[in-house]
């Protein structure tokens, strides 16, 4: 069968089109880079978003593409953060980009060594083992003198990036540096997931039994992606240390692993942008709500999580937002909001079957409407 046959060309075209850049993607990155110039006052939070996005991207690689669940991904984030801090503080590698890459390699090594722990056992085992690894690292960082213990690594002074671009107090250098790093790593990840290797990961996630029955060495693929993801997370941690010139124990916190998991739930897994979009939403809402008081943010975050699991991603988010807005509109104090929310959640839980009927009907109608609109476009095209 030669390449001239139309069906072969059609097959090839179909496969290659899956990796083609969609307009949405192009707009996303144009806006991201444009923000360097148009959102100058927001560079500090944008840097946080970029770093968080990279961290979430790394979790997407293992969770969304390989199906590995982890409650301790912060282990690699934190490890990269501390390695970068130590490299800078003790003048071992002064140039930030090199130090960042070195931290990534260190995190990859840690990922490789611990990858064997996630190959065996059930999802529950994986959740606990990954949690355990993160806790072990946190304890080690807590105990060692060299890591500064509970006070963290202080006194880090960063040299200019690539010898030219000094870190400034407005965070512009940090933002450009983080964004460019994120973009490059994103491009690499995008190539990986659209490669035969990435396809094999999807098959492992979808049906590991069949994957090994067609000759795929499942364990080696999982080790490979886990190692890469660890490297990405480590680089994100390194960027945090370099941007803030500080590394604390909180980089290993359980909340960090849980937050990035939540970000992927919000944004969706398996298409690489879930972590990026989710991070933007997460950080913006967090910034807005945490200004009231930190417990405020944690409370509503918990509510979103509960609602999303009970009613699905979209409806759960909508319902959590409705409850929140209702509390605002009724000008309730936080105390009153807590009570009202608890009652609301209990009531919604009791009525869940009925609510699910309504939401599935809405989804059906929305899909039908969307199909109708699509058909109209095709006809007029």
């Amino acid at each position: 069968m030669s390449m001239d046959k139309p069906i072969v060309a059609q097959a090839r075209g179909y496969l290659l089109s899956r990796a083609r850049w969609s307009p949405f993607e192009i707009i996303f990155w144009i806006v991201a880079f444009a923000s360097i110039f148009f959102l100058q006052s927001k560079h500090l939070i944008l840097t946080e978003i970029a770093i968080l996005g990279l961290f979430a991207l790394s979790l997407d690689l293992i969770l969304g593409y390989a199906g590995i669940v982890s409650l301790g991904h912060a282990a690699f984030f934190g490890f990269g953060a501390y390695v970068a801090g130590l490299l800078a503080k003790h003048g071992i590698i002064k140039e930030p980009v090199l130090a960042m890459l070195a931290s990534g390699v260190a995190a990859m090594a840690l990922g490789f060594v611990t990858s064997f722990l996630v190959l065996r056992g059930s999802d529950l085992t994986r959740l606990m083992v990954t949690l355990g690894v993160a806790l072990v690292l946190r304890e080690i960082a807590n105990r060692l003198d060299i890591t500064g213990g509970a006070d963290g690594l202080q006194g880090i002074v960063m040299e200019p990036v690539l010898g030219h671009f000094a870190f400034d107090i407005f965070g512009k250098t940090a933002y450009v540096y983080s964004l460019v790093t994120l973009f490059i790593l994103f491009l690499v990840a995008r190539r990986i997931v659209n490669s035969p290797f990435g396809l094999s990961l999807r098959s492992v996630k979808g049906n590991p039994l069949r994957a090994s029955a067609i000759g795929i060495n499942v364990n080696i693929r999982l080790v490979a992606v886990y190692t890469i993801a660890a490297g990405y997370a480590g680089i994100a941690g390194a960027l945090l240390t370099q941007a803030t010139q500080f590394a604390s124990l909180s980089v290993f916190d359980f909340e960090r692993s849980a937050d990035v998991m939540l970000i992927l739930i919000i944004g969706g897994t398996g298409y690489l942008y879930g972590g990026l979009i989710g991070s933007v939403l997460f950080k913006l809402v967090q910034d807005y709500l945490a200004n009231v008081n930190p417990q405020y943010w944690q409370f509503w975050l918990g509510l979103v999580l509960v609602m999303m699991i009970m009613f699905g991603r979209v409806y759960g988010a909508v319902m959590a937002t409705i409850i929140y807005v209702a509390c605002l509109a009724l000008k309730l104090s936080f105390m009153q909001s807590i009570i009202i929310t608890i009652i609301a959640v209990a009531v919604l839980g009791l009525m869940r079957p009925q609510i699910l009927q309504i939401t599935s009907r809405i989804t059906e109608r929305a899909k039908a409407a969307l199909d109708g609109v699509k058909a109209k476009f095709r006809r007029s095209a």
């Binding site: 669940v69 409650l71 722990l117 065996r120 056992g121 059930s122 999802d123 529950l124 085992t125 959740l127 606990m128 083992v129 949690l131 355990g132 690894v133 806790l135 072990v136 304890e139 080690i140 807590n142 105990r143 359980f254 909340e255 849980a258 998991m261 939540l262 739930i265 008081n293 417990q295 405020y296 943010w297 944690q298 409370f299 975050l301 918990g302 509510l303 979103v304 999580l305 509960v306 699991i309 009970m310 936080f334 105390m335 807590i338 929310t341 608890i342 959640v345 209990a346 009531v347 839980g349 009791l350 869940r352």
Partner: protein, 286 residues
């Protein structure tokens, strides 16, 4: 040395009382409840309020803590948890983490973030001298209460009708249903009792474990270790695991403080890799 052993046993038995509900929940309904620590926290805080502010005698506050946590457990189970049983472990984990966040934030805001202490009655303070060893009276109470509870649990599991229904349902829920056992009712009651025990453990443990709004997160890993190392097919497994964990943690902190808790975590990882179903479990993990 004996004091350390004694303290470790008290700590371990406390962990057991709190964690046994979690073990049964996991074994019975295959449900991972990371919010289990929140019930202990609830018991602890209601005791603080009752004893410190309302003047309720300490020993009377203990059953109040049990009931308070049990009621919360029943309400939560019937309205929320029941919808999550069929979901994946990851979704259950995320769901219960959400509940933990909500409860931690709420308690932090309402009660403040400082550690709470229960004013113990005078007869529970200080030590008594037993065979030449100084034994803390409070820890003695803990061992006594927890010991009695453990015996009561084991007795009711082995010798009551409810106990045999529970054991049947843990062994194989489908077959149990086929035999006419109302597994959902068994579970609701078990969940209530498990939560109540957690509350009681939290009340007793406020002095020893430290009570603050972050309790559920701080101790989550300990309860998980008890359950994973001890397995979920009996209560003897978690009991032994709790004692080992309690003694190990206290002894570790005393003899090798630079290692702290991290030996515990490493042991957990090693056990999970070697025997994913737990050290004492009969069956293979589901």
């Amino acid at each position: 040395m004996l004091t350390i052993l004694f303290d470790g046993i008290a700590y371990g038995m406390l962990l057991f009382v709190v964690a046994c509900g979690l073990a049964v929940t996991l074994g019975l309904m295959n449900f991972v409840n990371l919010a289990h620590g929140a019930f202990a926290m609830a018991g602890g805080y209601i005791t603080v309020v009752a004893v410190n502010r309302l003047g309720v005698p300490f020993l009377a506050a203990l059953p109040i803590a049990f009931l308070f946590a049990a009621v919360i457990g029943v309400v939560l189970e019937r309205t929320l948890y029941v919808h999550v049983y069929a979901k994946t472990h990851l979704e259950q984990v995320l769901f219960t983490i959400g509940l933990v966040f909500m409860s931690v934030a709420a308690v932090d805001y309402v009660m403040g973030s400082q550690q709470q202490f229960v004013t113990l009655p005078s007869y529970l303070q200080g030590q008594i001298n037993l065979f030449g060893i100084g034994i803390g009276r409070y820890r003695l109470l803990i061992i006594a209460v927890c010991g009695l509870l453990t015996i009561a649990l084991q007795f009711s599991l082995a010798n009551t009708r409810f106990g045999s229904r529970l054991r049947a349902a843990v062994d194989d829920a489908r077959v149990a249903r086929g035999l006419g056992i109302n597994v959902n009712a068994v579970f609701a009651i078990t969940f209530a009792v498990g939560s109540g025990l957690a509350g009681l453990g939290g009340a007793l443990g406020a002095e020893i474990l430290g009570l603050d709004p972050h309790f559920p997160l701080k101790f989550m890993i300990y309860f998980l270790i008890v359950v994973t190392v001890g397995g979920t097919s009996s209560i003897t497994g978690p009991f032994i695991a709790s004692l080992l964990l309690g003694i190990g943690d206290v002894a570790g902190k005393y003899y090798a403080p630079q290692f702290g808790s991290f030996i515990i975590y490493i042991i957990m990882i090693v056990v999970l890799i070697w025997r994913p179903q737990g050290l004492f479990s009969r069956a293979v993990a589901k």
